[in-house]
């Protein structure tokens, strides 16, 4: 196998959208991980399963319904969590199971969708179209701009809500914004790793980067680098060996985490 694969246009699209998604998941995921919301991505992904099933049933492009259902359910669950004082992990469990339940019922009603649903469950990065790629780039760009503009507010309210409030930051609005961005990010990323493995991209590169003991910006950059590395190498390796890209990407990310833990245990990471 040679560099020939890099000349295929489907591979260009896969790599371009893959890199964009890798960066997006790592940045949005960092805020979720630090808010002890690691599984929130997973929960939104599962609720998007309901949205996808709805789209397939209605004959609408499933990602559109997935966006609508995921964002709506993420915002609603956040509202319910605040109003009824439900803990974060319990609200995630509610969101996660209700999404799957809705999906299963709809699939049952329609008599089953067979193949289509599998590409959403496990990802299909090599099949992304030009339109998909443009959408991924546009959404990634938009979310990154919002994060850069509201960097201090996002970080401060993640670090300590009470102090952020006293500094005049609209913490509730920022919380909803993060949930909203997480909803968009998850659905955008479904094409890469599928519903089932999405939280891996949110969590693993960030957990790895945090071990390096650096400040916020450096941690974000390390996380993005690991995320991009996992996705690019994962796509290429999976194509060469004809294995599933989603699983390969996640395994590479886990390999980087294990390697980092090894380096840390060996005392090779300096404090600064």
């Amino acid at each position: 196998m040679s560099l020939e694969i890099l000349t295929f246009s489907f591979m260009h699209r896969a790599l371009i959208s893959g890199v964009a998604i890798a960066i997006l998941c790592s940045v949005v995921g960092l805020f979720l991980v630090l808010r002890r919301y690691s599984l929130f991505g997973d929960a939104i992904a599962h609720s998007s399963f309901g949205g996808i099933a709805l789209g397939l049933l209605a004959g609408v492009y499933p990602l559109w319904t997935a966006y609508a259902v995921s964002i709506a359910s993420a915002l609603i669950i956040t509202k319910i969590k605040d109003k009824y004082n439900i803990s974060g992990d319990a609200s995630i469990a509610v969101l996660l199971s209700s999404g799957i339940a809705v999906g299963l019922v709809i699939i049952g009603l329609s008599g089953g969708f067979t193949i289509d649903i599998f590409s959403f469950l496990f990802g299909s990065i090599l099949l992304v179209s030009v339109d998909d790629t443009i959408l991924v780039l546009a959404l990634t760009g938009a979310i990154l701009i919002v994060i850069l503009l509201l960097y201090r507010q996002l970080l401060y309210s993640t670090f300590n809500e009470e102090q952020a409030k006293v500094s005049g930051i609209p913490v509730e609005k920022i919380n909803y914004l993060i949930v909203f961005m997480a909803g968009i990010t998850v659905v955008t990323s479904i094409q890469l790793v599928g519903v089932l493995l999405i939280s891996a991209l949110f969590v693993i590169p960030n957990v790895t980067a945090i071990i390096y003991g650096k400040g916020f910006k450096q941690t974000a950059i390390i996380s993005m680098s690991f995320s991009v590395f996992s996705v690019v190498v994962g796509i290429l390796v999976s194509y060469i060996f004809d294995i599933t890209p989603a699983g390969t990407i996640v395994l590479i990310a886990i390999g980087l985490l294990a390697g980092t833990m090894g380096i840390k245990s060996a005392g090779l990471l300096s404090k600064n």
Partner: protein
């Protein structure tokens, strides 16, 4: 004398208890006010109300003659140091990152270095906040509170769980902020001796305000000090 804070008939009713009962209090510019009172006296409730974290109260709270329910502008003039800041130990922020959070304009970046030097934590600037001792962390949070050049500094029992050397350093910093930089300080403390040495005004709180005035008056009145000591001793016994 410019009124910085004016509290009128502040009452906070929790479902089972009246946390604050008809508190009225004026803090003038340049005051160094020590708020003392036993555990459960309502100090934290008073601060939460003043900081806009608790809005369920009767009465009015004004900063710079503006009702805080009508305008949040006062927060720009205010630095707040919480009792024990809660954050994850491995939260990936350096000392500089934390102080930067307090900054309102990105362009004021050079203020960070200045304040870190002033509080003798400049050499720690690239260290993660979670790696520092309690005393060092406390100074970082003061730096964060001060980086915007606030006119008022509010500190909620800020030396809980900190070693004596750090406490002494901390007190000398407070004294300098008040005397040289003319920052109005509102400070709650359990430490009567420290309040005696540092504060020029004292407010004695036990759900109601049973003394507010110059600290000399309070500390020269043996009956008052005794009354306070007994109240907090009873509370202390009650807690054990």
């Amino acid at each position: 004398m410019l009124k910085v804070v004016e509290i009128n008939n502040l009452t906070v009713q929790y479902p089972d208890v009246k946390a604050l009962d008809d508190i009225s209090l004026v803090v003038n510019q340049g005051d160094f006010l020590g708020i003392i009172g036993p555990n459960g006296a309502g100090k934290s409730t008073l601060f939460a109300s003043m900081l806009g974290l608790n809005t369920k109260y009767k009465g009015t709270i004004k900063f710079f003659d503006e009702d805080i329910k009508k305008s949040k502008n006062y927060l720009k003039q205010l630095g707040y140091v919480p009792q024990k800041p809660i954050f994850e130990k491995n939260f990936p922020v350096t000392v500089t990152d934390v102080v930067r959070m307090g900054l309102r304009k990105e362009s004021d970046e050079n203020k960070i270095d200045k304040i870190l030097q002033q509080l003798w934590i400049h050499e720690l600037r690239e260290r993660r906040i979670g790696e520092l001792s309690g005393g060092q962390q406390q100074r970082v949070f003061i730096a964060k509170a001060l980086v915007n050049n606030p006119k008022i500094l509010i500190l909620d029992e800020p030396v809980t769980g900190i070693d004596q050397q750090s406490i002494d350093l901390f007190y000398s910093i407070l004294r300098e902020l008040n005397s040289k930089q003319k920052i109005t300080i509102i400070w709650s403390s359990h430490d009567l001796d420290a309040v005696n040495k540092l504060a020029n005004h004292v407010a004695c709180l036990n759900r109601t305000l049973f003394f507010h005035g110059e600290s000399e008056k309070f500390f020269s009145d043996d009956a008052l000090v005794k009354q306070y000591s007994e109240a907090s001793m009873q509370e202390h016994m009650h807690h054990h």
